[in-house]
C-alpha cells in the first residue's frame, strides 16, 4: 500500500514534468500511429501471399500485434524508464539519494520514472486486440480471460526481471545503456508468433531474451493454443527470474557500496 502511494507520488512528479514538454505528446502519437501502420501494412502484404503464418490465422496474428503493442507500451511506460535512470544514477552518483531513503531501494528505483505518453501505445494495443477478437468471433470465456491476464502478468514480471538484471550490470561496468537498446530491437521480433522462427531462434527468443513470454504466450491464451505446461512454466519462470533479479540487485548494491571488495 505504501509503495502504491510512492508510485502515485512519482507519477505526479512525472506527469508534471511531461506537461512542460507538450510537444512530446504529439511526437509520441505520431510515432505510435506510424509504428502501428507499418506493422499492419506489413501484415496485410504478407497475408496476400499466405493464409497462415507459423500456424496462425490473420486475425490471430492481429491479436498478437495488439498484445505486442500493449506489452511494448507497458515496458516503455514504466519498466524501461526507471532502469535507464538507474543506469544514469549509478554513473552520476545520484543513486545515493535513493539509497538513503527509508524504503526499499529496488522499489523506488523501479517506480521512479513513468513515460506517461506511452499510455497511447497501450491504448492502441488494446484497441487492436479487441478489434481482432471481435473479428475472430471467438467467445472469450472467463477461464481464457483469466489465463490471458495471468500470462500477461507473468510476461510483465519476466520482462521486468530481465531488464533489472541487465541494468544492474551497470554496478560492474558503468556504461551499459546500449544493452537496453539491444533489447528494444530484439523485442521487435515479438510481433510475429515465435513458431514462425527456426528452432534455435525460437529457443533464443523464449529463454535467452524472453520475448516469447511477453507476446506470443499471452496471445496463445486468447487463441486457445495455450497448454497447461506452458502456463505453469511461464508462472514458474516469472517467479524464478524475479528472485534471480533480486539477487543481482543485492549483489550489485554490495559492489556499489564496496562491501564485496
Amino acid at each position: 500500500m505504501s509503495y502504491f502511494r510512492i508510485f502515485l507520488a512519482f507519477l505526479r512528479v512525472n506527469i508534471y514534468g511531461e506537461t512542460a514538454y507538450r510537444i512530446n505528446f504529439i511526437i509520441q502519437l505520431f510515432q505510435s500511429l506510424l509504428n502501428l501502420g507499418m506493422t499492419l501494412g506489413g501484415l496485410a502484404i504478407i497475408f496476400t501471399y499466405t493464409n497462415l503464418l507459423g500456424g496462425w490465422q490473420p486475425n490471430e496474428v492481429l491479436a498478437l500485434v495488439g498484445v505486442y503493442f500493449l506489452i511494448g507500451g507497458i515496458i516503455r511506460l514504466i519498466i524501461q524508464p526507471g532502469m535507464e535512470q538507474l543506469i544514469e544514477s549509478v554513473r552520476d552518483g545520484t543513486l545515493d539519494f535513493r539509497l538513503t531513503k527509508p524504503a526499499d531501494a529496488q522499489a523506488i528505483v523501479s517506480l521512479q520514472r513513468v513515460e506517461i505518453w506511452e499510455i497511447l501505445e497501450i491504448i492502441l494495443g488494446l484497441g487492436v486486440l479487441i478489434y481482432a477478437l471481435v473479428k475472430l468471433g471467438e467467445i472469450i470465456g472467463v477461464l481464457q480471460a483469466a489465463e490471458f491476464v495471468l500470462m500477461l502478468t507473468a510476461g510483465g514480471v519476466i520482462i521486468y526481471s530481465f531488464f533489472l538484471i541487465l541494468s544492474t550490470l551497470s554496478f560492474w561496468f558503468v556504461r551499459v545503456e546500449n544493452i537496453l537498446v539491444i533489447f528494444q530491437s530484439v523485442y521487435e521480433a515479438g510481433r510475429w508468433p515465435v513458431s514462425l522462427y527456426p528452432g534455435w531462434l525460437r529457443y533464443g527468443l523464449t529463454f535467452i531474451i524472453p520475448v516469447a513470454f511477453a507476446t506470443t504466450i499471452p496471445a496463445e491464451a486468447l487463441t486457445s493454443r495455450l497448454n497447461w505446461q506452458t502456463l505453469v512454466g511461464a508462472i514458474a519462470l516469472s517467479i524464478v527470474l524475479f528472485i534471480v533479479s533480486r539477487i543481482f540487485w543485492k549483489t550489485g548494491l554490495k559492489r556499489y557500496s564496496g562491501a564485496s571488495a
Binding site: I6, V13, A103, A259
Partner: protein, 333 residues
C-alpha cells in the same frame, strides 16, 4: 571497556579505527595500453580512510576539514550507510549505518553540494511531497515543517518554480529544505556552500546554526571554505591522506599548528632596520609587518615599544587558511 567514561551508544556518532580501502584499476593512456587495459588492468589499493577514530555528542556541530581527496566524503558516505567500511567500528545513533535499516535512515539526512535530489523540470514542492510520502511524514508535521523552513530559508515563491529556473543558491536552499522535511536528528552536509556567492554562503551558514539550535540535531559538515567552519563549528576534525591529524577546538588548532605570530607596527615617520627583531614580511608607508616566533612575541613587542617611536602596534594570529595549508604541506614532506 567498562572503564570508559562514555558508553558508545550515548554518542550521536561513534567511530573507531575506521578504514576504507579501494582497489582501483589504473588506466594508462595510449592505444596499445588501451587494448592492454581491456584484457588486464593493473590494480592498486587506495587508502581513502585509514584508521580514524572520533566521537560526536548529540547536538554538536562539527566541521570536517581536509583538501580534496583527503577522505571527507568517503567518511560521510560510510556514516550515512552508502559505503561499507573495510574495517573498524561505526555507529550512528546506535545503528550500524551499512545495514541501512529504515529506522536509521528515517533519522539521518545527507546533503551533497555537488549533486541534486530535486527533479530538474518540476517545482521543488513536488519533490517535497514525494519525500513526504517516502518518509511517511504525517500531514500536519509536514505542513508545519514546510512553513518553518520557508520562513528560515526565505523560500517564498521558490518552491513553486521549476527547479531549472532557480539560481544555484536558490536551488541549494531548496535542496537543504528537501533534506530536512523529516526532521532528521543527524545531518551530514558535504560541501553545502560550494560555488555559492558570499551572501548566500552566509545565509546557509546562519540557517544551519539556527536549525541546530532549534532541533538539537547533530551536524557534521565538510567544507572547502574556512569561513563556514569558523562561523559554525567550535570543534573541527582535520583529515589528510585518510588520517585524522587534529580533533579539537578551532582555537586549539591554531595553537597547535602555528609557530609564528604576525606583528604589525606603524612607526612615526621614520625608516628603521627591523630585521634584528624578526622577519620583515612587508613595508608600506611606515607600516611594517613582522613575523616572529610565537614564544618570543612578548619580548619582541616589549623591545619594539621601548626602542622605536611606535604609533600603533597589532599582534595577529596568522589567517586560518594559512595555518591549515601549512599543516597539509608539512604532511606532504
Amino acid at each position: 571497556m567498562s572503564k570508559e567514561k562514555h558508553n558508545p551508544m550515548a554518542y550521536a556518532i561513534h567511530v573507531r579505527d575506521l578504514s576504507k580501502f579501494y582497489v582501483v584499476s589504473q588506466q594508462e593512456t595510449g592505444t596499445k595500453a588501451a587494448f592492454q587495459n581491456l584484457v588486464h588492468r593493473r590494480k592498486t589499493e587506495v587508502r581513502a580512510v585509514d584508521g580514524i577514530s572520533f566521537d560526536i555528542e548529540p547536538g554538536e556541530i562539527v566541521g570536517f576539514l581536509g583538501p580534496n581527496g583527503a577522505g571527507k566524503t568517503t567518511t560521510l558516505k560510510m556514516l550515512s550507510g552508502l559505503l561499507h567500511p573495510t574495517s573498524g567500528e561505526l555507529s550512528v545513533l546506535g545503528y550500524v549505518p551499512s545495514k541501512r535499516e529504515a529506522v536509521f535512515l528515517r533519522q539521518i539526512t545527507l546533503v551533497m553540494g555537488q549533486r541534486n535530489q530535486l527533479v530538474w523540470d518540476i517545482p521543488a514542492e513536488l519533490t517535497f511531497e514525494l519525500n513526504q510520502v517516502i518518509y511517511r511524514i504525517p500531514r500536519d508535521s509536514y505542513r508545519s515543517m514546510v512553513t518553518e523552513l520557508t520562513e528560515l530559508l526565505d523560500l517564498g515563491s521558490l518552491l513553486k518554480k521549476p527547479v531549472r529556473n532557480l539560481s544555484l543558491g536558490e536551488r541549494m536552499k531548496c535542496e537543504i529544505a528537501a533534506a530536512l522535511l523529516h526532521r532528521p536528528g543527524v545531518v551530514f552536509l558535504d560541501e553545502p556552500t560550494i560555488g555559492l556567492d558570499v551572501t548566500m554562503q552566509q545565509r546557509i551558514r546562519t540557517f544551519i546554526a539556527e536549525y541546530n539550535q532549534r532541533s538539537g540535531a547533530t551536524v557534521l559538515l565538510t567544507s572547502h571554505y574556512m569561513a563556514d567552519v569558523a562561523a559554525l563549528c567550535k570543534r573541527v576534525l582535520v583529515i589528510h591522506h585518510g588520517k585524522l591529524l587534529f580533533d579539537g577546538e578551532l582555537s586549539g588548532l591554531l595553537q597547535q599548528f602555528t609557530s609564528h605570530k604576525t606583528i604589525i607596527i606603524q612607526l612615526d615617520n621614520c625608516k628603521a632596520n627591523l630585521s634584528n627583531y624578526g622577519e620583515v614580511k612587508s613595508y608600506e608607508d611606515g607600516r611594517y609587518t613582522l613575523r616572529v616566533p610565537k614564544a618570543e612575541t612578548a619580548r619582541v613587542t616589549e623591545r619594539l615599544l621601548a626602542e622605536l617611536p611606535v604609533i600603533d602596534l597589532l599582534v595577529e594570529e596568522p589567517p586560518i587558511e594559512e595555518v591549515i595549508a601549512r599543516v597539509f604541506a608539512q604532511e606532504e614532506k
